[in-house]
């Protein structure tokens, strides 16, 4: 099972994505987001990225999703929709599950599990041992490189988030 652990985790990942994109009430969407966040963290850890997995749990689940949960709890309705309450939601969920089952069967049958998670030229995050200042992990170096070589990406994403807030406020303001 351990050789296929990334495959199993990614199947659970896709199933939970299907769970919230079939649009039950946002509370239940947040529930499967927690599951998908945890499972995604597991996938990243299997490639050796312990720092990024920790970031997922702390910042994504522990920061953003908590705020999302509080705002949804303020705006929720009396009888929120579950997957089994509405025929449409259940139908979309079952359809997504069916697609995923067919994809899994195809991948397993053609013995090509590698195609799901191996891109060409990309492997695990390498670990360097330079000897003088200790062990470097490539993935933490990547995060550091984001703030040095990739300053433009930080500026663009920061500006996008700011404009996102402005746009949402403008759209919901009304007349």
């Amino acid at each position: 099972m351990m050789t296929y652990i990334v495959f199993i985790l990614s199947v659970i990942f896709v199933v939970s994505f299907v769970g919230f994109s079939s649009k039950p009430s946002p509370i239940y969407g947040g529930l499967v987001l927690i599951v998908s966040g945890g499972v995604g963290c597991g996938i990243i850890m299997n490639f050796g990225g312990s720092f990024l997995g920790l970031m997922v749990f702390l910042i994504y689940l522990g920061g953003m999703l908590v705020v999302f949960g509080y705002t949804t709890a303020m705006a929720t309705e009396q009888y929120p929709e579950v997957w089994v309450s509405n025929t449409t939601v259940m139908g979309v969920f079952l359809l997504g599950l069916l697609m995923e089952v067919m994809l899994v069967l195809y991948v397993l049958k053609s013995e090509e599990v590698g195609v799901v998670f191996k891109f060409s030229g990309v492997g695990d995050w390498a670990i360097y041992d330079t000897g003088d200042s200790g062990v470097f992990s490539e993935e933490i170096m990547g995060v550091a490189a984001l703030y040095s070589y990739g300053v433009w990406v930080v500026i663009v994403t920061g500006w996008s988030l700011l404009v996102g807030v402005l746009v949402i406020l403008e759209v919901t303001r009304g007349d």
């Binding site: 891109f119 663009v156 996008s160 404009v163 996102g164 746009v167």
Partner: protein, 346 residues
């Protein structure tokens, strides 16, 4: 809308397109498209009635789907080539998906259904930004991946777009829908020559933007959104009426005006590449476009359109001052003698 917020959001639309046009990393291009989409939604919704909200929702859904397809094509390209640089897309699957995604963003057939509905639901100024500025970013990406685009798919979409743009516009009296179908047809002309000579695509884009800008400015000046309303301009500003005539005929591609230049160059380039039937079909279908432009000029400038006597005086608030209207009109009608200058584009 608060002027400061409006300026910020408008500048973000510009920034999004700039990021798309000058990035060398596929992810940054995708970020640029998303920034562009996000920031143009409140501009489309400037007036808060259900119609603009419906139009913005339709625009958001189609463009978000196109961005998702673009991201899928980027990931497949990464999987097979291992790098994120903008070059031609080597994998045929990724190339087809990317072409479809960019066609959805441009409004080419069979993804053209959102263009008339979205353009009709929003104000004239927003429609202007939608039909001119928003076409720049996808066209620049098509230009950059043009060596690897599947010719059959692109030419099919182009020819069908010219057909749909011509035929669909025949039954319209609303000016914004007419401009939307005109946009679909012009996008068809632009993408037809993309694989043969991408410089002509850029030339067509430039002249199309100038002509569409002029037309929208003339509509904004006379505050008219229907053919009936446009037909009353002879009473208020006869000069605008004449200019509408000239610009519409230029959009139709008639010879001594500048709209003829891209069509002539495109047909010449296609025949140089030994396809005769295709440019013949395209030229014949452009006649459908010309028909509804002619109908607009007939009702506006050439005849006094029938209306009741008390509607003959056009009532509006003080005349809007449109910047750059005279240079735009001159450029969109008199550029044809400059055609030999195209040799500097190499």
């Amino acid at each position: 809308m608060n002027p400061l917020i409006f300026t910020t959001i408008l500048m973000t639309v510009l920034l999004g397109t700039m990021i798309v046009m000058m990035s060398s990393h596929w992810l940054m291009i995708w970020i640029g498209f998303e920034m562009n989409l996000l920031a143009i939604i409140p501009i489309l919704m400037k007036k808060y009635n259900p119609r603009t909200m419906e139009a913005s929702t339709k625009y958001f859904l189609t463009q978000a789907t196109a961005s998702m397809l673009l991201m899928m094509a980027i990931i497949i390209n990464l999987m097979h080539s291992g790098q994120w640089t903008i070059t031609k897309v080597f994998n045929p699957t990724a190339s087809i998906i990317m072409t479809s995604a960019l066609a959805m963003k441009l409004g080419l057939t069979p993804f053209h259904f959102w263009v008339p509905e979205v353009t009709q639901g929003i104000s004239l100024t927003s429609g202007l930004i939608l039909l001119t500025w928003q076409k720049l970013a996808p066209m620049s990406i098509l230009y950059q991946i043009s060596p690897s685009i599947n010719l059959n798919i692109l030419l099919t979409m182009a020819v069908l777009s010219i057909l749909v743009g011509g035929w669909g516009g025949l039954n319209q009296t609303q000016l914004r829908k007419i401009m939307a179908y005109s946009s679909i047809a012009h996008m068809g002309w632009m993408t037809a020559v993309l694989v043969y000579n991408p410089t002509l695509t850029m030339l067509n884009m430039l002249i199309y933007i100038m002509m569409t800008l002029t037309m929208f400015m003339l509509f904004i000046h006379s505050s008219s959104t229907t053919t009936l309303s446009l037909s009353h301009t002879w009473n208020k500003t006869p000069l605008i009426t004449t200019l509408i005539l000239i610009t519409l005929l230029s959009m139709g591609g008639l010879p001594p005006l500048s709209g003829f230049m891209p069509k002539w160059m495109i047909i010449q380039e296609l025949t140089k590449n030994s396809s005769i039937i295709l440019p013949t079909l395209m030229a014949i279908m452009a006649l459908l476009n010309l028909y509804f432009y002619m109908r607009l000029t007939y009702s506006t400038s050439l005849t006094m359109f029938p209306s009741t006597n008390n509607m003959k005086m056009k009532w509006q608030f003080e005349t809007k001052r449109i910047t750059l209207l005279p240079p735009l009109i001159v450029m969109s009608s008199l550029l044809l003698p400059l055609t030999p200058m195209l040799s500097i584009l190499d």
